[in-house]
Symmetry: C2
Subunit: 297 residues, 2 copies
DNA sequence: CCGTCTTACGAATGCCGTAACTATA
DNA sequence: TATAGTTACGGCATTCGTAAGACGG
């Protein structure tokens, strides 16, 4: 067992792929692959299930994960301890309200562990807030769905609206639905949804009238109502909730590309964060279990 | 920075010397020396002060120590996690009452970190107790001053009786005293002391009569009384107490050799523990600060 | 055919041991 | 002279990159 192997291991877990992990640790993909193999051999355990859908942790891998995290975090902290008075780098980061916190948390935690000396200051707000703060220099960068000026932003991932329905409800078995299926259906409206305008316009254009049973600006409440069978709701596919199944919206697809964007010349700490964010595994769940794990269980 | 370097680092701290550390990690001494140098270079910090009296940790070394401990402990634990159902090895260890617990604790902690799967069961008792338990097979090994049958014991370290006196008291400035100096001096008697018989016999033979002001079987109480100026007391040189200075007993030297001993054929776990105990730094304080540090401060 | 991971091979790095050296007591 | 640590040098393991192969969508 060796430190670099644990770094490779964490990189694979955090990026969700061998190739992206290789980028993150600045080696070629075969080199990283060999490193993981060495680690697996040293522990005499298979750590990842390599499947066409991606990478999944085995039980042994899950057992190793928290230990690897603390080992690498302690190493980084030890190195940080030794550089006294390094000018503290700060990154003020604005985050769009529409992004679920549990998706962002792993990225922030991973970054803090990798760069313990950097200070991350998070603030969330609407897309308008973010644009304003960015222009005023009150934040250094923003993660959201707003447009990025040329060369001052990178796409991170894309989400699409999906229909959230009770796991035992009428649509639970369907692989996809269309807007027409929503006519007269008991529906919940997330009043803060980024796509609300587009969707209602399209519904009106097609003469579809869902039966609104609840309006809320809380995603959590909306999903709980769905789980309870009150109705259905359109949510970004990032969300997960017990008792709720997500069904794809077939024909007109509503969605947003979430990007990291900034204003002016990127600072060093921003470059470092950008490297992390662009190679992050956005499909993973907040607790480290992979969303792709479905195929492995 | 690399794992093997941290292992070297811990070995040096725990054994108090480069040579003994090299034995412990099964490399030659130059190899270990180079490893430490690599670590110091990687962290850009001097970790050890090499003096003629031994090794002392620098501030940087002290800062690194707890992190190195958790890193290595987590690594060992991770490896241990991967071997499920390894037949749990148990070592029942008897410890003589005369040994201060704070001297033994570092050894036990270090061993537990190095071999997290092994189970250490500690029991303390008098030397007679230890001998009896050992013969009955109720403990696997004993650490104490009793004699070891041939080939069934190894010496660990030797202590001598020293005079404990108040730091601001009359003897505090002396480098050594003789028994004669104790005539009519206010003295405390540790009634459980291993050497009590020898000492009193010698005092009587010489016609020396200290003035007994307190009898106790608590080392802690005795030393507190000394610090308060009640009198002096003879204690093993292992002891430390705030406000108490130890002065050597010049001419007749009373002492004991502490050894690890067992009965019959040593088990594998005992061999493993013996390796640790024989290369342990018995001069170090319980909190990891070195007793030899005097020369470095 | 592209994306993803594995296998194969040559080069460079670096760990390790032996041996010689230095310094203190 | 003995003990403790450092420096010098050669052997060998291993990490890394490049290139080619296997595998599925």
């Amino acid at each position: 067992m060796d430190l670099y192997q644990l770094r490779y291991f964490l990189a694979v877990v955090e990026t969700g792929s061998f190739s992206k992990a290789a980028e993150r640790v600045f080696v070629t993909q075969p080199t990283l692959s060999a490193g993981i193999k060495k680690l697996e051999h040293a522990l005499d355990q298979v750590l990842f299930l390599r499947g066409r859908k991606g990478i999944a942790l085995t039980d042994a891998g899950r057992a190793l994960l928290p230990r690897a995290r603390t080992i690498i975090a302690e190493c980084n902290a030890a190195k940080a301890d030794m550089l006294p008075e390094a000018p503290r780098r700060r990154l003020r980061l604005g985050i769009g309200r529409s992004l679920p916190a549990e998706r962002l948390a792993p990225l922030l935690r991973d970054y803090r562990e990798a760069e313990p000396k950097d200070e991350l200051v998070i603030r969330d707000g609407s897309e308008d807030d973010l644009a304003g703060w960015l222009a005023q220099g009150r934040i250094d960068a923003a993660i959201g769905t707003g447009p990025a000026p040329d060369g001052q932003g990178v796409a991170l991932f894309r989400w699409r609206l999906m229909l959230a329905t009770a796991a035992d409800g009428p649509y639970a078995g369907r692989s996809a639905i269309t807007l027409e299926d929503l006519d007269h259906v008991a529906s919940i409206v997330r009043s803060h949804c980024d796509c609300l305008g587009e969707v209602t316009r399209e519904l009106i254009r097609r003469g579809i009238r869902p039966r609104i049973v609840c309006r809320t600006d809380s995603d959590e409440k909306a999903l709980r109502h769905v789980a309870a069978g009150l109705g259905v709701v359109l949510v970004p596919d990032l969300y997960r909730h017990p008792g709720v199944r997500l069904v794809a919206l077939a024909e007109p697809s509503f969605g947003r590309t979430v990007s990291l964007r900034w204003h002016g010349r990127p600072t060093p700490v921003l470059e470092s964060f950008r490297l992390f964010a662009t190679s992050h595994d956005w499909t993973a769940d907040g607790d480290g279990a992979s969303a792709r794990l479905g195929w492995a269980r």
